[in-house]
């Protein structure tokens, strides 16, 4: 029941934070921090002896009746797996990061919206019922729409609407898929339910007519791949990032993208054994193309924020690859692959938080994030530049920083099913390294752009924020086992299902 209470507490916090006036930042920060600590203690106590599978279900029957062999049951059920536990923790921490950056410091609506996104994410990762899954899916989307539309910068009206419609198309297909599955479940068993464990069940889905099965796969994949995002469904992302305030970008990248990863690896994977082989290869191809494609598009960008946005999509492509290749592989490698993909989903949030935050502090000083508008920044702001450099290095997957473990695991493990096609991943990673290092050279090193004038380096508070992010990123990079252990257990549980 503790999850339910946790969620209710979070909801109350979210609602209150809309009405806290000028204390909004402190209130939301402190309360989310307390919630995080509570959740951390909870995870340590429960997941210390985790063995795989779903734990701590709490089922609240909202509506249930039976008549004439027909029954309807709608439960509000919560539960955690190794993966979702890590995801919830990640969502909480990312929310804290976003609140810490929180640019509009006097606007309680802003902080309320950010907290709502966090609340939506946590709820999404916890629920085990598709009806509420969908509700939380939208709970994340709507406040994000307002964050971009109300607090965004350039062209915010148009871009926020584009963001909303684009991702909403995916959501609608998700809803259709859910209804398809539950209708067929009703036809089969006479029970009308939305429980994920019932609907995402291999035995049940095997008995579905092919058309219905593929339609539901299509809907799920469309929704998740848009969120991830995978080439060619990515166009909402760079624009949304470009316009969104920095704390919004952190949540977009750290929160919304991991929804796609969760959807693929956490929701869809148990039935992915039914995927036709052609679809699996298609997904792998999409992943490989995305790695290379986003590397090249990032290289093209002149705007550092857009560049990071594209590269974050490139990092998430590893999740698609892991999803596909683990279906082809067997044994230990499959587990390694899956766990690596999950780890990438989580680590990615930390990497991009660091990147957007350090970029924000540079933007605050220089008022430009165009590569050619900067130059030689290291001279004026060595500390801020060092953090930004660290963020770039983390994004290119340097060991000891968060990005490495996931990318490494996926690359290593995918060899079993891809063979030397992994060279494509490597090619993408080389290009990635190239544009990040190139960007660092042009913006941080070399001659100082005197037009920027005299700049002040980070103050203590800003330093602490970035330091906190860097430390958490390093922690994830060099001590992975804390999270990797539960991911592996869950991954081998998943691998056993198919």
């Amino acid at each position: 029941m503790i999850l339910l209470e946790f969620l209710i507490a979070f909801l109350i916090v979210t609602i209150i934070s809309f009405f806290t006036g000028k204390y909004a930042k402190y209130f939301s920060l402190i309360s989310v921090f307390v919630l995080t600590v509570v959740f951390l203690i909870y995870s340590f106590s429960v997941f210390g002896s985790y063995t795989g599978g779903i734990i701590s279900e709490s089922n609240i029957v909202l509506s249930s009746f039976t008549a004439n062999n027909i029954s309807v049951r709608i439960n509000f059920s919560l539960g955690l797996t190794g993966f979702t536990d890590a995801l919830v923790l990640m969502a909480l921490i990312v929310t804290i990061f976003a609140l810490l950056i929180g640019e509009k410091s006097n606007d309680d609506t802003f902080f309320g919206l950010l907290t709502s996104v966090g609340f939506g994410l946590v709820g999404l990762f916890m629920v085990r019922n598709f009806l509420f899954f969908y509700i939380f899916w939208e709970v994340v989307l709507v406040p994000m729409f307002f964050v971009i539309g109300k607090y965004g910068s350039y062209n915010k009206d148009k871009i926020s609407i584009k963001f909303f419609i684009y991702t909403h198309v995916g959501s609608l297909f998700l809803l259709l898929s859910i209804f398809t599955l539950s209708t067929y479940y009703f036809l089969k068993t006479g029970l009308f339910t939305f429980q994920i464990s019932d609907l995402m069940n291999l035995a049940f889905q095997e008995s579905l007519p092919k058309f219905a099965l593929y339609f539901s796969f299509f809907g799920f994949l469309l929704a998740f791949l848009i969120k991830l995002p995978t080439f060619p469904l990515h166009e909402w992302l760079p624009n949304a990032h470009y316009t969104a305030p920095y704390s919004g970008s952190i949540l977009l990248s750290g929160g919304l993208l991991s929804m796609g990863g969760y959807g693929l690896l956490g929701i869809l994977y148990p039935v992915a054994g039914l995927f036709p082989l052609a679809l699996v290869y298609f997904l792998i191809a999409l992943g490989l193309i995305s790695v290379v494609y986003f590397a090249f598009t990032s290289m093209f960008q002149k705007n550092l924020k857009r560049m990071i946005a594209y590269s974050s999509a490139g990092e998430m492509a590893f999740v698609t690859i892991a999803f596909g290749t683990s279906l082809l592989s067997t044994g230990y490698v499959r587990t390694f692959d899956l766990a690596g993909g999950m780890y990438q989903t989580i680590a990615h949030a930390f990497v991009t938080s660091l990147a957007f935050s350090s970029l924000y502090f540079i933007y605050k000083r220089t008022h430009t994030i165009q590569v050619y508008g900067l130059g030689g920044l290291y001279r004026e702001t060595p500390v801020a530049s060092s953090f930004f450099l660290a963020a770039l290095l983390a994004s290119l997957g340097l060991p000891t920083l968060a990005g490495f473990i996931g990318e490494f695991s996926v690359t290593i493990a995918s060899y079993q099913s891809l063979g030397l096609l992994t060279l494509l991943i490597i090619f993408g990673l080389i290009v990635t390294a190239a544009y990040f290092i190139w960007a660092a050279q042009r913006s941080l090193f070399g001659f100082y752009n005197e037009a920027l004038g005299k700049l002040k380096d980070l103050n203590k508070a800003e330093f602490l924020i970035l330091f906190l992010m860097l430390v958490s990123s390093i922690f994830i990079g060099i001590y992975p086992t804390l999270i990797f252990r539960i991911l592996t257990l869950y991954a081998s549980h998943l691998g056993g299902l198919i």
Binding site: F296, F336, I405, T411, Y415, I426, A433, F445, G446
Partner: protein, 628 residues
């Protein structure tokens, strides 16, 4: 089991933040703390050496994540390498306290070098390839930071970028090499053993080769070798190292002698059993690339005018000797690896000496690096000149310096390789490299030290206080005397070492060639100084001067004409695609506006639509009925 030897890399790691903070508040105390920490590491390594005199190895490991280990594995090869790294780093660090005395950012310098040394020591003693790779990448990162230490120089920033990217290419291929091993081994390793654990790989190499097939193993080893090629600056990925001279000279000394380029050679030596049991072409590639690089870089060294670049090409060339020596070990047995390691240690000593001597000169000449503007420095700075001479004769393998013993043995080994396999090419390349070595180093030496000063700065040059040169003197002493430990060294690495003695003539040839090389160098020097011949129009000279156009191929063709346009095309079309989606959305909303016109409010219209609609529906039903 917690092992005290973890401290070998933890000591310098502590120095990383501490040096930064100390130097931040009290700048003049920079470098002391890190030197102490490196000294402690050295002491610990020596303790490990004595422990290993009657033990086989030290091994301690924990689970890092999944079935990847975190731990240390120290055997005889490791301890030699660790001793070299910590000792040379200590010497360089002591010297750097003098060299970096006036740099305002010296705290950052010492913090970064501490991390650099940490990473190198960690790499040497790590017990798992993944952990090895982690340190390997930090080495790359630190070299990036240190090469770009003077970040305000655009050249330095560009060189740092180049170093990072070129080594990154190798590193990523290395990852695939590990992927091959992992995918093939994960189902056959004993329970609770990591498939990428170094002791497992090297102790079961034969079993691994039979289980996964020698050709698969060859693929894995070659991919791993690609990592070594990039890190150890072998052809064709050597292009980063001459540019990497933009950093402080002590950084170059660290990179060239102790902490970076030797990592690649060490990797191949470490995993030698895997290379040995892989298909024969795997080690043949190693031999050939090594021997070819030895000559290739030697040729380039002759035409360089930048004192540090000459030394850089010399490093590439000498690393080629080491690689070749490991390569021929496939035929002549493990002793080839011992030869390579011995040369590695000797090379580290004299290369550190040469670079630090160069640093003294550059400090005195205000970073004027063109040797054509020097000259006559023998009289101006005699101590430095003698120290550098010792380094130069050691490099040119003149007896009785240590270089003679270490390199001579490699060349003899190559001859033994010829007698056993009938392949004489490596020997010919290496022996030819001997002339080149003596030529490029003495050309530089003569141009720097002989004759009259050719610039005002050279006029004013003078030796620093002798106390600052102490590390150089220690290294010079070692360059001259390390030859004594040649045989014990081989024995320590490989108790059953077989040292082949070639016919006397073959043994003498290298020495003769070295002297020929010095003669050639003097001739070049003579003609250069007296402007006798204008070779700038010579085609061969131009090709060599442009480094055989390899750098041009990478930067002007691959980077500028393939990667950048590709990014432009893809990025541009991505934007067009984005716009197309926006326009599609616009069309859609226009369609909505159009549909709105139907809503006129006139009942006649609605009725008409109703009737049309019903008709269409019935028609469809009728048609479906017809089809059935």
């Amino acid at each position: 089991m917690v092992s005290i030897y973890y401290l070998i890399f933890i000591f310098p790691l502590i120095a990383f933040p501490v040096e930064y903070l100390i130097g931040h508040y009290k700048r003049k105390y920079s470098g002391i703390f890190s030197s102490i920490m490196i000294l402690l590491s050295l002491v610990l390594v020596i303790k490990g050496y004595f422990y290993l005199l009657n033990h086989a190895y030290i091994y301690s490991h924990y689970v890092w994540f999944y079935n990847i280990d975190f731990g240390i594995y120290i055997d005889h090869l490791t301890i030699i390498m660790a001793m070299m790294v910590s000792f040379i780093s200590l010497m360089i660090n002591l010297f750097a306290m003098f060299y970096m005395k006036n740099d305002p950012r010296r705290n950052i310098y010492f913090a970064e070098t501490s991390l650099f040394i940490t990473a190198m020591l960690g790499l040497v003693i790590s017990s798992n390839l993944v952990l090895f790779f982690l340190f390997w990448e930090i080495v790359g990162l630190c070299s990036y930071l240190l090469i770009g230490f003077w970040f305000f120089k655009p050249n330095a920033a560009a060189a740092a970028k180049k170093a990072f990217l070129v080594t990154r290419v190798g590193d990523l291929l290395f990852i695939i090499g590990m992927g091959v091993l992992y995918a093939k081994l994960v189902n056959i390793v004993p329970l609770s053993t990591s498939p990428l654990s170094i002791p497992y790989l090297i102790n079961n190499a034969h079993a691994i080769a039979t289980a996964i097939g020698p050709s698969t193993l060859a693929l894995a080893t070659l991919l791993i070798f690609a990592g070594a090629v990039a890190k150890s600056a072998q052809f064709p990925l050597h292009v980063w190292i001459p540019d990497a001279m933009e950093g402080p000279t002590t950084v170059s000394a660290l990179i060239h002698a102790a902490t970076m380029v030797t990592a690649g050679v060490y990797l191949v030596a470490r995993l030698f059993p895997l290379f040995e049991y892989a298909s024969a072409y795997s080690l043949y590639v190693v031999t050939f690339i090594g021997a070819f690089t030895a000559v290739y870089a030697g040729i380039l060294g002759i035409v360089m005018n930048d004192i540090k670049r000459v030394l850089a090409y010399s490093t590439i060339s000498q690393l080629g000797y080491m690689m070749a020596s490991i390569g021929i070990a496939g035929i002549i047995g493990y002793s080839g690896v011992s030869f390579a390691m011995y040369h590695l240690v000797v090379h580290a000593v004299f290369k550190a000496l040469l670079f630090m001597a160069a640093a003294v000169i550059l400090l005195s000449l205000l970073e004027l690096r063109n040797i054509k503007d020097m000259g006559g420095l023998f009289k101006k700075m005699p101590v430095t000149a003698i120290l550098m001479l010792i380094g130069a004769i050691t490099l040119a393998a003149i007896p009785p310096t240590a270089g003679y013993f270490s390199k001579g043995q490699i060349i003899s080994g190559a001859y033994e390789y010829y007698t056993m396999s009938g392949d004489i090419i490596p020997w010919l390349l290496l022996i030819f490299g001997e002339i080149l070595t003596a030529t490029y180093i003495f050309r530089m030496y003569f141009l720097v030290f002989l004759g009259k000063p050719r610039s005002e700065l050279a006029e004013k040059a003078k030796d620093p206080k002798l106390i600052y040169l102490t590390p150089l003197m220690v290294l010079a002493f070692l360059s001259l005397t390390l030859g004594i430990i040649q045989k014990p060294f081989y024995k320590f690495l490989d108790p059953s070492v077989y040292i082949y003695t070639p016919p006397l003539l073959i043994e003498i040839i290298p020495v003769i060639f070295s002297f020929i090389g010095i003669g050639v160098a003097y001739a070049i020097y003579y003609y250069t100084v007296n402007n006798k011949i204008d070779i700038h129009k010579n085609v061969v000279y131009r090709i060599v001067k442009n480094k055989f156009y390899l750098d041009t191929l990478y930067t002007d063709y691959i980077a500028d004409r393939i990667i950048l346009p590709l990014s432009y095309i893809i990025g541009y079309n991505d934007r067009k695609y984005d716009n197309a989606i926006d326009e599609g959305g616009m069309e859609f909303s226009k369609f909505g506006t159009f549909l709105r016109k139907i809503e006129t409010g006139s009942i006649a219209y609605y009725a008409a639509f109703l009737i049309i609609g019903i008709t269409v529906i019935f028609l469809i039903i009728e048609l479906l009925g017809v089809i059935k």
